[in-house]
């Protein structure tokens, strides 16, 4: 087990270096940070001087190695746009994104599993058809459209929920939470629903498909023959065996929700790392973009590691397989 984790950590480092390398290569084509920083009133001489000082004239590999060197020491530089340390900016905005991701993942997971089981156990009911069709709508509509639609219905027309922002927040040490205030809880409802729709559909259909498959297997039939109650069969045996692929997908989805809740954060003006990234791309704020992509790689790597460890716990076959060295 330990060797397994060590190997995965080593692979993770390689993944992050590769991401940083590709990101750096791409940044050369995203635009010129200097003209964004200096504005209309500057001379060409000023532009050249700033390029020199920022080290933008250095060859690519030198820029890359100094970035990696600094990153290993925890130094991600200063944002060109906001002129504050990048690590501080990301840390400040991380709680907002994580809370949003957590809220939406919870909704998606709970509702997805429940609806998935329901539609698997009653494949021919009318309500199943309604749920499956409605879920398709949730997947086909783009996130920003759903977001704007929800804002118009609940904020503009009904005036029951706020139209943007995170509401009042409470500082718990370093972490800023919106869960402890009424306005915070009200503000997270719409963005969490918007963000959860896609995942919910995915999880629901996956659970349904897996359960339908598992319910057809021999050991389920033998369990029925043995006289086990339907409930024991469905939840004690069938559900557990469907969870492995569901955990994989949920893990990957959670990673992508944390990393790329960008659209939802922009639509709802949610002060997370996603909207920080979008604002940075618009002005080619390279330090923030580079740090953000490395951070995203880290998130995926960590989540995948946790998912793999969970396999071990959930699936006895893997545990036994490892022990007997097969």
């Amino acid at each position: 087990m330990l060797a397994f984790i060590a190997r995965r950590l080593f692979q993770s480092v390689i993944v992050m270096l590769a991401v940083a390398f590709i990101a750096f290569m791409v940044f050369r084509y995203v635009g010129d940070p200097v003209s964004s920083m200096l504005g209309q009133d500057s001379t060409l001489a000023d532009h050249a001087a700033l390029r020199e000082r920022l080290g933008l004239n250095e060859p690519f590999y030198i820029q890359f190695f100094s970035f990696v060197g600094n990153a290993l020491q925890g130094q991600f530089g200063i944002s060109y746009r906001l002129q504050q340390p990048v690590s501080q900016l990301i840390m400040e905005r991380l709680p907002a994104t994580i809370e949003l991701a957590f809220a939406s993942a919870s909704i998606a997971l709970v509702l997805g599993v429940v609806l998935g089981i329901y539609t698997a156990l009653r494949p021919r009911a009318f309500s199943t058809g309604v749920i499956m069709t409605a879920s398709l709508i949730g997947v086909s509509l783009p996130t920003f459209l759903i977001g704007i639609g929800l804002i118009y219905v609940f904020a503009v027309e009904l005036k029951v929920l706020p139209s943007f922002g995170r509401g009042e927040v409470v500082d718990l040490g370093w972490w800023r939470t919106g869960f402890l205030t009424e306005s915070g809880l009200r503000s997270i409802i719409l963005p969490a629903i918007t963000l959860s729709l896609f995942q919910l559909t995915l999880i629901m259909r996956l659970v349904r498909a897996e359960m339908l498959e598992v319910l057809r297997t021999d050991y389920i039939r033998f369990a029925k023959a043995r006289g086990l109650s339907q409930r024991a069969i469905n939840f004690g045996h069938a559900l557990k065996n469907t969870m492995v692929p569901v955990i994989t997908i949920t893990g990957l989805q959670l990673g992508s929700v944390i990393a790329f809740a960008i659209i939802t954060e922009t639509v709802f003006q949610w002060p997370g790392v996603g909207s920080l990234f979008v604002n940075s791309v618009a002005v080619v704020d390279v330090p923030v973009m580079a740090a953000y992509l490395v951070f995203v790689a880290l998130v995926f790597v960590v989540i995948n590691l946790i998912v793999d460890i969970l396999y071990f716990i959930v699936d006895p076959r893997l545990r036994d397989g490892a022990k007997s060295g097969r």
């Binding site: 060409l44 906001l82 002129q83 704007i148 943007f164 002060p271």
Partner: protein, 526 residues
């Protein structure tokens, strides 16, 4: 009986007291982006300046008509007998938010700081040789040579407290190239009507009224500044009552907001002209099928292109009425603009085709148009419309559309044959336009003269504008330069942008031509 009389008296007295106490009015103000920094000399950017004008103040600034008015300076004049020195008389009895007195040494410190290496404002003070305090309320600015228009350049140069800056180690403007942050990025001490109460970058900033301000107490006592990036969300926030004033209103929402009960839209001209530029010189264009000449270099071709441009159609269809078509590449507030220059020819497709044939391009030619797509109002749509118009006269245009972060390097790197750009004139004087757009490109001038237009006679006249102290002679020179610029069609202006602010019906915030409205101008309906 006795008790109830007392009660009635108490209520009456209480209500008169209430009438005497000023109402606390909070205004929630939404824009598309946040101020970049609170360090007043670090960035020369509109949104940052607009926010700073509430906390800090400048020597003079512009009102909603665009006129230069006194602020921290009550008088300004050229020194008697020495045309290279500007004298500024300062307002007395002004206090900083921390209680310190405002004196000449703060002005000297601030102007020197604005001229320093790390400041993005230094280009505006390039002609300054030295700043000195004559006494506590008089400052002399020694220019390199006679500079009749220097006061136009101080309207966005804020005054900081020297002692506060020294105490907090912010005498130097932040050097983010060296990777440093500094105290002034998040903290302030100004003379302005509002003090900073809290700041969460890209989320919300709160300003509260400063009781010790020298001016008339504003009606707005608290400002909550809310950057909301998404256009639809910003308008939804206004409609749902979550914000009171929206400054950046997308053109397509103006009509709808005007028709919504409970809301209104204030509009006014903006100090920004949108124009097309093209390459001069006889080197063939990179993106054209004509390989032995440069069509744009031929004045007949340029005339044809202007005759193909239907500015009124663009105003009606693309801008939905929200633009002011113009025939000269300057907004109307700028010194040098005249009604004659503003005239533009009616579109004439037949004549344009004739001119092209005369010029030697009977089959037209092809070229690429570079346009930004996220900087000016409907910029890409304007370019797309013009592509269609040029197609009618036989010019086959390929449209290359990019975000401004990628468009700017192409402009500054001289890699374009034909482009769209917008230009604001913060000094409200034509010399600003000439210096950057018309003068031959060199180390100090013509930074945005992308087409490479070069007219040495004009260059001389442009340079003379910097030092000519006889205002009549200067204005005459400006008129001469504009005549040549218009006759040569150095640039092809389309229109001036208009600004629209949307707000709750009972609030009035007048439109400011530089898009720098100030909450002290807000009036609440009775």
């Amino acid at each position: 009986m006795h008790t109830s009389l007392t009660r009635i008296a108490a209520v009456l007295i209480a209500s008169t007291m209430l009438a005497g106490v000023a109402q606390a009015e909070t205004v929630r103000w939404a824009r598309s982006s946040d101020s970049l920094t609170l360090d007043p000399h670090s960035q020369n950017q509109g949104v940052t300046h607009t926010f700073a004008h509430h906390i800090y103040e400048t020597l003079m600034w512009r009102d909603t008509e665009g006129t230069l008015i006194p602020r921290l300076a009550t008088e300004w004049y050229v020194k008697e007998g020495d045309p290279t020195v500007w004298v500024f008389k300062l307002r007395e009895g002004v206090k900083f938010h921390d209680g310190a007195d405002f004196t000449a040494e703060d002005v000297v410190f601030s102007l020197d700081r604005a001229r320093s290496e790390g400041s993005n404002l230094k280009q505006l003070h390039a002609e300054v040789a030295e700043v000195r305090a004559v006494d506590d309320y008089t400052v002399e600015v020694q220019m390199v040579g006679p500079s009749p228009l220097y006061p136009n350049n101080v309207t966005n140069t804020f005054i900081m407290d020297k002692t506060w800056s020294e105490t907090n180690n912010v005498e130097e403007v932040q050097d983010f190239a060296a990777g440093e942050s500094n105290y002034a990025v998040l903290n302030t001490n100004g003379t302005g009507p509002y003090m900073l109460t809290s700041r969460e970058v890209d989320v919300r900033s709160v300003l509260s009224v400063f009781d010790g301000w020298w001016g008339e107490a504003p009606e707005v006592t608290e400002i909550v500044y809310l950057p909301i990036a998404d256009n639809a969300t910003r308008i939804a926030a206004l409609l749902s009552g979550d914000v009171d004033i929206v400054q950046d209103v997308p053109v397509q929402d103006i009509e709808r907001l005007q028709n919504s009960p409970g809301f209104k839209v204030e509009t006014g001209p903006e100090n920004r002209v949108i124009y097309f530029g093209y390459r001069f010189g006889d080197e063939p264009l990179r993106s054209s099928n004509i390989t032995d000449s440069n069509p744009f270099d031929n004045p007949l071709v340029r005339e044809a292109m202007e005759l193909a441009l239907d500015r009124d159609a663009i105003q009606q269809v693309v801008m939905r009425g929200n633009s002011i078509p113009t025939g000269v590449a300057t907004p109307p507030f700028v010194n040098g603009w005249t009604e004659e220059l503003d005239q533009y020819p009616a579109p004439d497709v037949e004549r344009a085709k004739e001119l092209l044939a005369e010029a030697g391009y009977p089959d037209g030619f092809s070229v690429t148009l570079d346009t930004p797509n996220n900087r000016y109002v409907n910029d890409e749509a304007i370019s797309t419309a013009y592509v269609g118009m040029l197609g009618q006269i036989g010019i086959d245009v390929t449209l290359a559309s990019r975000p401004i972060a990628e468009h700017s390097p192409i402009i500054l790197g001289d890699e374009t044959d034909f482009y769209l750009l917008g230009w604001g004139v913060p000094t409200f004087d034509s010399a600003y336009i000439f210096n950057d757009l018309v003068h031959t490109k060199n180390e100090t001038h013509g930074t945005y003269n992308v087409g490479g237009y070069s007219n040495p006679e004009l260059d001389e006249k442009i340079i003379s504008l910097g030092t000519e102290t006889d205002l009549d002679a200067r204005n005459a020179t400006i008129a001469e330069i504009w005549e040549v610029v218009k006759a040569d069609r150095v640039l092809l202006p389309v229109h001036n942008q208009t600004l629209a602010y949307a707000m709750r019906e009972d609030i009035t915030l007048p439109v400011h031509p530089e898009n720098q409205p100030n909450m002290t101008t807000v009036v609440f309906a009775e």
